[in-house]
């Protein structure tokens, strides 16, 4: 279990960078600065970050930005990327229309 308070103290305060405006998650329009800032607000896992900023929650489901978000968070936490716990994988694994999902009755159609 990570001691969040201790870790926050260790990494110091959020400092603005010149490239904070850089889009990282283009589906949900989340910037590098927002991700870095969220780390200083105590968001240490991908799961939490996705719920907090909605990065990786758009059409590509983090296929493009997932690895980038992980490395930005790790750098901010002064750790290697494997320190950042990945998000749980859930169905539906690909974007799917509610209309189709709603018809699902748990069987196969002939």
């Amino acid at each position: 279990m990570i001691d969040i308070r201790q870790k926050l103290e260790e990494i110091g305060a959020f400092e603005p960078h010149a490239d904070d405006g850089l889009l990282v998650c283009r589906c949900e329009e989340v910037t590098k600065g927002e991700i870095r800032k969220a780390v200083h607000e105590g968001i240490f896992t991908i799961e939490e970050m996705r719920r907090y900023l909605r990065n990786g929650m758009g059409l590509c489901q983090g296929q493009t930005c997932g690895r980038l978000v992980k490395s930005i968070m790790a750098a901010e936490l002064k750790e290697t990327p494997d320190y950042v716990e990945p998000a749980s994988a859930r169905a539906p694994m690909r974007p799917i229309e509610m209309e189709i999902l709603g018809k699902d009755q748990g069987g196969a159609y002939e």
Binding site: A89, R94, I100, A108, Y109
Partner: protein
């Protein structure tokens, strides 16, 4: 309304998935393969280059041909492939939900093989969301599947095999590749692939990365800069190029989420998030297997063997094959896989700097940084000999698992021996007849034929040539060196094509004798210029 049951459900109809289904079907298993794409074959049908390896790995056959062979084999053994079928869920009890048409269908497998492959990595820089910034895989899809040119002037980021191979294909399709850059200090892919690109005149910028993609509506230019040891740009090293396309070849990540969802134990590695599995692809959930890139990035040849290993393992798991049968087939397949994992680029050597070949010859430093072996370095390799009469010059300078050249020469002029990664050696005892089969057989396009004094003061160089339009005999042009720079005027004296060459044409040019070891590429006069 019920759940349909199958012996084996395969997710992904790429090289690994199809190979596994075929291998299992050979033993009587009835597999079903789902793929979200409209065409089967995964990435194989985008691979227009000749593959490396030995005969059993289908070396010197182009990727898409291997794909066609795989599909024919799948059909022969009754493998059911369902296309436009997106697997949206995989559960620990081996239930699979698939979106087919406008419906979700449920299937249950006695075994599941996940062969979902990988997706391309991205990098962020200012302007990376502009239209014109594309993945190298996307560029290949546009060119090789849809016959659409991705752009006219391209900058490639990434010097791994994907970056190198796609750069060459972009030029074959008619694009200009203005530069190839990589933040790493050394070229990551095969030297022979780099050399092919370099002799077309593409400059390599190692230890360089993209600072900014320029343009308002779409890409109109790019600025790169040199990175220091702290990975930051060194001020004053910026270089600008006018381009309309920026191609990114910065690695792949396994698409392993389905395995995670099914409750398989996962590992967070530098190569991505992968399932913990044994040599046969068995994950921590009994009956769920993984093969190909999803279990760790390699390439198509090893994915096909991994697939076959999982296929026979599943057949035995389901009771369709005997244990002894499985074990003997696996030892045969593992031997093939081991061969592919030998040499300088073996998975075990990833990230290491290799200074010498297995033969103890110093690696060309120039090749690792500029993309070509310098005139001073080339002579130290065993495939390069100086003879007056016609003979092969094999500019193969790194230990990679590949040996078609040895089989190609019926006269015995070329020897690699039993160790597939050894550098080819010219055997001077045997007489070369200039048939050119070795030139066409080399997947790295690294073999040339050289003959001195075909007429007083002039000799001939024969080179592999895969560009259109083909030059014609008698045409006057410019011979370029390994660095792509013009070295002398020349005349085309022979253009050979043959089904045996499989679209690698042999172009023979006449150059002064002292240029025979320098001239390695041909350009028509109007395109080339001397510095």
């Amino acid at each position: 309304m019920d759940i349909r049951r199958y012996d084996m459900i395969v997710i992904g109809a790429g090289p690994a998935g199809l190979s596994a289904a075929i291998e299992a079907a050979k033993h009587g298993v009835k597999p079903i393969v789902f793929d979200e794409n409209a065409r089967p074959g995964g990435q194989l049908f985008k691979q227009i280059h000749k593959f490396f390896g030995s005969k059993e790995h289908k070396a010197k056959i182009r990727g898409f041909k291997i794909g066609e062979e795989l599909l024919a084999e799948a059909e022969k053994f009754g493998v059911e492939v369902v296309l436009n079928a997106t697997v949206v869920g995989l559960y620990p009890d081996k239930e699979v939900t698939v979106k087919i048409g406008e419906e979700i269908q449920h299937f249950k497998g006695d075994s599941i093989l996940v062969a979902t492959g990988a997706s391309e990595n991205m990098v962020n820089f200012k302007g990376w969301t502009l239209p014109g910034v594309i993945g190298a895989g996307a560029a290949q899809t546009m060119m090789n599947l849809h016959h659409i040119l991705p752009g006219k002037k391209v900058l490639m980021l990434g010097s791994g095999n994907v970056g190198l191979v796609v750069s060459f294909q972009l030029m074959q399709a008619g694009c200009e590749v203005v530069a190839l850059c990589d933040a790493a200090p050394r070229i990551g892919g095969y030297g022979v692939h780099a050399a092919k690109v370099a002799r077309c005149g593409v400059p390599f910028y190692l230890s360089h990365t993209i600072i900014e993609a320029e343009g308002d509506e779409y890409v109109t230019g790019v600025t790169i800069g040199e990175v220091g040891p702290d990975w930051k740009i060194i001020p004053g090293t910026e270089k600008h190029f006018d381009v309309d396309t920026i191609c990114l070849a910065v690695g792949l990540s396994p698409m392993s989420q389905l395995l995670d969802q099914a409750g398989c134990q996962m590992k967070d590695t530098r190569g991505g998030f992968v399932p913990a599995c044994d040599a046969e692809g068995q994950t921590s959930v009994p009956g769920i297997y993984a093969a190909g890139d999803v279990s760790g990035i390699e390439e198509a040849s090893s994915a096909m063997i991994e697939g076959r290993i999982s296929g026979i393992t599943i057949a035995e798991y389901l009771g369709f094959a005997e244990k002894e049968e499985k074990e003997s087939r696996i030892s045969e397949l593992e031997a093939q896989l081991d061969t592919l994992r030998q040499g300088m680029f073996a998975p075990a050597n990833r990230g290491k700097k290799i200074e010498k070949t297995e033969e103890g010859i110093a690696i060309s430093e120039n090749l690792l940084v500029k993309g070509f072996v310098s005139d001073e370095e080339i002579g130290r390799f065993p495939g390069v000999t100086k003879q007056r009469k016609i003979h092969p010059v094999m500019e193969c300078t790194q230990n990679i698992p590949c040996n078609p050249c040895q089989d190609a020469c019926k006269r015995g002029c070329i020897s690699i021996g039993s160790n597939i990664t050894s550098l080819p050696v010219v055997d001077k005892e045997h007489e070369c007849i200039g048939c050119g089969l070795c030139v066409a057989s080399c997947s790295g396009q690294a073999i040339f034929l050289v003959e001195e004094d075909v007429e007083p003061g002039y000799g001939e160089v024969t080179m592999p040539y895969e560009f259109m339009p083909l030059p014609v005999v008698g045409e006057k042009g410019i011979a370029c060196g390994r660095d792509g720079k013009a070295v002398c005027d020349c005349e085309v004296t022979k253009v050979r094509t043959s089904p045996a060459f499989d679209h690698t044409n042999l172009l023979t040019i006449k150059v002064p004798n002292d240029m025979l070891m320098k001239a390695r590429f041909y350009r028509a006069k109007k395109e080339a210029a001397y510095d």
